[in-house]
C-alpha cells in the first residue's frame, strides 16, 4: 500500500465532492419476479468493480471482488477492521474522510487515489454510497471501487506529452501561437509572450493584430487569416512596427471531419537575416559599382575562358561592348594563340590544374581596332555561381609605361652607344665605391675591359694617392648633392695625364644621391697649350716690364739732359722750341708707357694692395701732369682742393685721372681748353661715395656713344689712345668698387660739353 501521490491528493481534493444519491433513473422499478438480492448479485457479477460494505464506524463488513488480486489486503486482514487501520497515511485519511462525509451527509462521495498493489501502482475511483433506510440515519455505507489505472496512465501520458511539447515549443526562439477560428489566441509559447512583453496566459483570448500592431483590424495578407479561410498552409514575410522582420507560416488545424478548428502560426524573427541580406545586397551592389566604375579592366572568365564579367573600362580599352563579348572566349578574341601562345599556356595550366593561378602577369592584347595594348593583370581564383572555378582579373593598361620603358631602353642604348663611342672616360660609382658602369675608353685607360671593372671597387684601379683624392671628390658630391669640377693629374701606368673631370650626382626619387656619374676628358694637350700661353704671357709681361722700365730710364736720362741744356743761358728761341717739342714727346711717351703698364697690372689689383689715398693730392698731380703734357693747349684747369677727401685704391687712380683730364683737354675743339675738376659727395650715394667730376667745354658726346666710349677698342676721331684710356679708367674704378660714366654738361640750360664722373668709395671712419 502506498501513500497517495501529490497528484492523487489533488484529485482527492478536486474529486471528492458530494453527489446527490437516490437518482431515480438508477432504481429498479420493482415489477420484476427476481428478488432484490438476485438483482444485486447479477449487477455485481456484471461489474468489474470491487464493492465494500462499511458499518457506521467504518469497519469493513463485506466485500465483492471479481479480481481478488486487486485487493490491497487479504480479506481476513481487513474484514472487521476500520478503514484507517487497514490503509494508513494520507490515503487512509482521505478514504475515511470521504466515508464520513457520505455517512454524515447521506450524499454520495467520490474519491480518486492510488495504491501500490500486485507489484504496481493502481489508480482507483471510489464512490461512497450511503445506504439509507427511511426515517433512520445511515447505517451502512457501500464503496464501489473502480480501477481507473488505465485511464489515469493515459491521462498522465497525455499530460506529459503536452508538457514536453510545451517545453519544446517554449524552448524555441520561433514564435508558436495557436488560434481558434475567431483568430483569438488559445495558446502561445514563451518566445511569443516575450515578444509582446506579456505572459502566455495573458495573451489567451486576444488577437495578433491587437498585440503586435495595436490595431483592431485584420492585417492585409495575414497568413493566419488566409490559412483559416483557405484551409491550406500560408506563409509571408512581414515587418512589425518595432522594425522587426518575420517569416510567418500558418498551418490550419482540422478535426477528424476535416473542418478547420484552429490555426497554428509559426513566426521566425528574420531581422538579422534580413539585415545580413540587406548588407550582402549593399556589398554586392558596392562591389558591382566598384567593378563597373573602376579605372582598371575587370574581366571574369569561366574555366573554359568564356567571358562572364566585363566592366566599362574593359569595354573602353578593348573597344568591345560587353554584349559583343559575353559568352565569347576571351583568348580566341583578345589574345590569339598564334600571336600569344604563352598566354594560352598559362591559362591552360591553371584550367587543367597543372599549376595554381599566376597572381601577376603582364601580356599584350589585341583591341577591336587591331591595336596592341599592354595590360598588367592581377588574377584571382573564385568559385562561380555554377560552383566551378572561375578567374577574376584586374588589368591596368600599361601601354604608355611599356612604350616609355621601351623608349627608355632605346634611349639608354643610345646613350650607352654614345658613351661607348666617346673619347672621354665615363663612369658611375655608387656610395660604396663600387663601379656600376665604365665605358670601354675608360677601361682601356687602366688596361682592362668594362667587364673586368664593373661590379668591382674603384680604389683598386689607381694608386693610393690618386684613389684618396678621387674618394674625397666623390664624397663631396654625395654630401652636398652638387656637381664637382676638378682638374687633376692621374697616372695611368707610367703615363701622367691631365684630366678635366665633372662629377655629377645621380639622385633617386627621394632626392638622395645614390651614385655619381663622372666624365673625365684628357686635357693634357690643352694644359700644355695653356702652360705655353702662360709662359708666353709671363715672358710678354717680363719684356713689357723690362721695356717700360728701361724706356722710362732712357726717358729720364733724355729729360735730364734736356734740362741741363735748358740751363744753358745762350739758347736761341729755335733751340728752346726744339727742346719744348722734345719734352712734350717725352711726356707722351711716358704717358703711353704708363697706360700700357696700368693695363697689365689691372688683374693684379686686389683689396690687399689698397692704401688710403688723398684724392686732393692725386687730382692735383693729375692736373699738373696734363698741364705739363699740353702746355699750349691748356688754358686753365680749375681745381680747388678742399677738406679731407680720402679713398682706398692704388697708384693706378693717378693714371685714371690723368687719362680723363687729358681726354677733356684733347677733345676740346677750341684752341685753348678750359677744364673744371671738382670732388663732391656722390649724388647717388652721398654717404658712401665721392664723385670726381671733370667737365669740359668740348662738343659733347652723342647719347648713343656715352657707353661705347668706354670700349677698349674704340677710337673716336683722329685722337689716339682715348679708348684705351677710358676703358682703363672704367676697369680700374670698378676694381676700386666705383664706376665712371659721362653726362652732358649743361650751362644755363644749354648743352656745352661733357662731364665725366668718377664715383669712388669713401674711406669710412
Amino acid at each position: 500500500m502506498t501513500e497517495p501521490t501529490e497528484e492523487s491528493r489533488k484529485n482527492q481534493v478536486a474529486d471528492t465532492r458530494g453527489q446527490q444519491g437516490g437518482d431515480r433513473a438508477g432504481v429498479f422499478s420493482g415489477d420484476c419476479a427476481l428478488s432484490d438480492k438476485d438483482k444485486l448479485d447479477a449487477i455485481l457479477r456484471a461489474l468489474p468493480d470491487i464493492v465494500f460494505y462499511f458499518d457506521r464506524e467504518g469497519r469493513f463488513k463485506d466485500y465483492y471482488a471479481p479480481e481478488p488480486v486487486k485487493l490491497y489486503e487479504q480479506p481476513e486482514r481487513f474484514l472487521e477492521r476500520k478503514i484507517e487501520e487497514v490503509i494508513p497515511g494520507e490515503t487512509g485519511a482521505a478514504l475515511l474522510d470521504a466515508f464520513r462525509r457520505a455517512r454524515d451527509t447521506g450524499e454520495k462521495q467520490v474519491l480518486q487515489y492510488s495504491l501500490d498493489i500486485a507489484g504496481g501502482t493502481h489508480y482507483f475511483e471510489s464512490t461512497y454510497i450511503p445506504i439509507v433506510k427511511k426515517g433512520l440515519p445511515v447505517d451502512h455505507v457501500m464503496a464501489v471501487v473502480h480501477d481507473v489505472t488505465d485511464r489515469k496512465r493515459t491521462e498522465h501520458a497525455l499530460r506529459r506529452s503536452e508538457q514536453e511539447k510545451a517545453t519544446v515549443l517554449n524552448a524555441t526562439s520561433e514564435l508558436v501561437i495557436y488560434y481558434d477560428t475567431e483568430m483569438k489566441i488559445l495558446w502561445a509559447n514563451r518566445a511569443s509572450a516575450e515578444s509582446v512583453g506579456l505572459s502566455s496566459e495573458r495573451m489567451v483570448g486576444r488577437s495578433c493584430y491587437e498585440l503586435w500592431y495595436g490595431t483592431d483590424a485584420l492585417c492585409e495578407g495575414c497568413p493566419v487569416a488566409i490559412a483559416l479561410k483557405s484551409g491550406s498552409d500560408a506563409e509571408d514575410e512581414i515587418r512589425t512596427p518595432d522594425g522587426k522582420d518575420w517569416y510567418i507560416r500558418a498551418y490550419p488545424a482540422k478535426n477528424t471531419e476535416g473542418e478547420v478548428v484552429g490555426v497554428v502560426e509559426l513566426a521566425l524573427d528574420i531581422s538579422d537575416r534580413k539585415k545580413t541580406e540587406a548588407e550582402l545586397k549593399r556589398a554586392k551592389e558596392y562591389a558591382e559599382s566598384l567593378i563597373e566604375t573602376a579605372n582598371v579592366m575587370v574581366v571574369g572568365l569561366d574555366e573554359n575562358g568564356s567571358i562572364v564579367l566585363f566592366n566599362k573600362t574593359a569595354e573602353k580599352i578593348t573597344g568591345y561592348t560587353r554584349e559583343e563579348l559575353h559568352g565569347k572566349n576571351w583568348f580566341e578574341l583578345i589574345t590569339p594563340k598564334d600571336k600569344y601562345p604563352e598566354v594560352w599556356r598559362v591559362f591552360d595550366d591553371w584550367r587543367k590544374k597543372n599549376k595554381g593561378i599566376i597572381k601577376s602577369f603582364d601580356n599584350p592584347i589585341i583591341t577591336k581596332s587591331g591595336e596592341e595594348r599592354y595590360i598588367s593583370w592581377t588574377n584571382n581564383e573564385v568559385v562561380g555561381n555554377s560552383g566551378k572555378n572561375e578567374t577574376i582579373s584586374f588589368g591596368v593598361d600599361i601601354t604608355k609605361r611599356k612604350r616609355a620603358e621601351e623608349a627608355l631602353m632605346e634611349s639608354e642604348q643610345r646613350y650607352k652607344s654614345l658613351a661607348e663611342a666617346a673619347q672621354d672616360l665615363i663612369f658611375i660609382i655608387d656610395r660604396e665605391g663600387i663601379v656600376q658602369y665604365v665605358n670601354s675608353f675608360a677601361a682601356e685607360m687602366v688596361g682592362k675591359t668594362p667587364e673586368d671593372i664593373i661590379g668591382g671597387k674603384r680604389d683598386g684601379l689607381f694608386s693610393e694617392n690618386v684613389s684618396t683624392r678621387q674618394r674625397r671628390n666623390l664624397q663631396k658630391v654625395f654630401e652636398t648633392g652638387e656637381a664637382v669640377h676638378v682638374e687633376t693629374i692621374t697616372s695611368f701606368g707610367s703615363r701622367s695625364t691631365w684630366l678635366d673631370t665633372q662629377l655629377v650626382p645621380i639622385k633617386n626619387a627621394a632626392g638622395e644621391v645614390v651614385s655619381v656619374l663622372g666624365i673625365s676628358r684628357d686635357i693634357s694637350e690643352r694644359k700644355q697649350a695653356e702652360e705655353q700661353v702662360l709662359r708666353a704671357k709671363q715672358e710678354a709681361e717680363f719684356y713689357l716690364d723690362l721695356m717700360s722700365h728701361d724706356l722710362t730710364n732712357f726717358n729720364q736720362t733724355i729729360l735730364g739732359n734736356i734740362t741741363l741744356i735748358e740751363m744753358q743761358s745762350d739758347l736761341s728761341e729755335k733751340q728752346k722750341k726744339y727742346i719744348e717739342s722734345c719734352k712734350r714727346q717725352l711726356g707722351r711717351s711716358e704717358n703711353l708707357i704708363s697706360k700700357v703698364r696700368a693695363f697689365s697690372q689691372i688683374k693684379h689689383i686686389n683689396r690687399q694692395n689698397f692704401r688710403v689715398m688723398d684724392l686732393n693730392k692725386i687730382v692735383a698731380d693729375a692736373v699738373n701732369m696734363v698741364k705739363t703734357l699740353y702746355p699750349n693747349k691748356v688754358d686753365e684747369i680749375e681745381f680747388k682742393p678742399s677738406g679731407s677727401k680720402t679713398a682706398r685704391g692704388t697708384e693706378l687712380l693717378d693714371s685714371v685721372l690723368t687719362n680723363v683730364i687729358e681726354n677733356a683737354v684733347k677733345h676740346t675743339k677750341d684752341e685753348k681748353a678750359h677744364v673744371e675738376v671738382s670732388i663732391v659727395d656722390s649724388e647717388r650715394d652721398p654717404e658712401g661715395f665721392w664723385e670726381i667730376r671733370i667737365a669740359d667745354g668740348g662738343p659733347g658726346i652723342p647719347e648713343e656713344m656715352k657707353e661705347r666710349i668706354f670700349d677698349r677698342y674704340l677710337k673716336i676721331g683722329v685722337e689716339k689712345g682715348m679708348g684705351l684710356g677710358l676703358s682703363l679708367a672704367r676697369a680700374v674704378t670698378e676694381k676700386f668698387g666705383g664706376n665712371i660714366w659721362v653726362e652732358d654738361r649743361v650751362c644755363d640750360g644749354v648743352p656745352s660739353g661733357s662731364v665725366f664722373k668718377i664715383a669712388i668709395p669713401k674711406v669710412k671712419e
Binding site: Q556, T557, G560
Partner: protein, 129 residues
C-alpha cells in the same frame, strides 16, 4: 743750401746727369755707386754720411730695396730718395722707411725740391717720412 748727396744708379748716362745737375744746383755729390752692393760698401766706408741718398732699384748684384734695407740698418737716420721706374716696389720702399718715392721720369725741379725737403726733415722714426 748745399747738401751732400750719395747717388746709386746703374745707368751711367743717368748717373752723369745726376752728378752734373746736382752740382750745377749747388749740391755736393759725395759718392756714387753702380749697384746696390757697391752702394752698401761705399756708404759704410764714408766717414761723413751723406745728407741724402738717391737710390735706384733695378740694379745688378744687389737691388735698391736690399741696399736701402742694409743702409738703413747701418744708419737708421739715412735719408733715402727712392728713384725708380718700377712703381711696383713703392709700397715696399716706403715700408722700409725711404724719405720719398720718385717714379721716373721726373724733372730736376722736383728732385731738388725733394732733396731740400728730405734734408730738412729731422732724423726720426719711419712714420715721419
Amino acid at each position: 743750401m748745399a747738401k751732400r748727396i750719395f747717388i746709386v744708379e746703374d745707368e751711367e748716362d743717368l748717373m752723369e746727369y745726376y752728378v752734373e745737375a746736382l752740382e750745377i744746383s749747388g749740391h755736393e755729390v759725395v759718392g756714387c755707386a753702380g749697384n746696390g752692393a757697391e752702394a752698401v760698401d761705399k756708404f759704410s766706408k764714408l766717414s761723413v754720411k751723406p745728407d741724402v741718398i738717391i737710390m735706384d732699384h733695378r740694379m745688378p748684384i744687389k737691388s735698391g730695396i736690399d741696399a736701402t734695407r742694409e743702409i738703413l740698418a747701418m744708419d737708421p737716420g739715412a735719408k733715402v730718395i727712392f728713384a725708380s721706374a718700377d712703381k711696383s716696389v713703392e709700397n715696399e720702399a716706403r715700408a722700409l722707411g725711404v724719405i720719398s718715392f720718385k717714379p721716373k721720369p721726373f724733372n730736376l725741379e722736383r728732385l731738388l725740391t725733394n732733396i731740400d725737403k728730405a734734408s730738412s726733415l729731422p732724423v726720426s722714426s719711419k712714420s715721419n717720412r
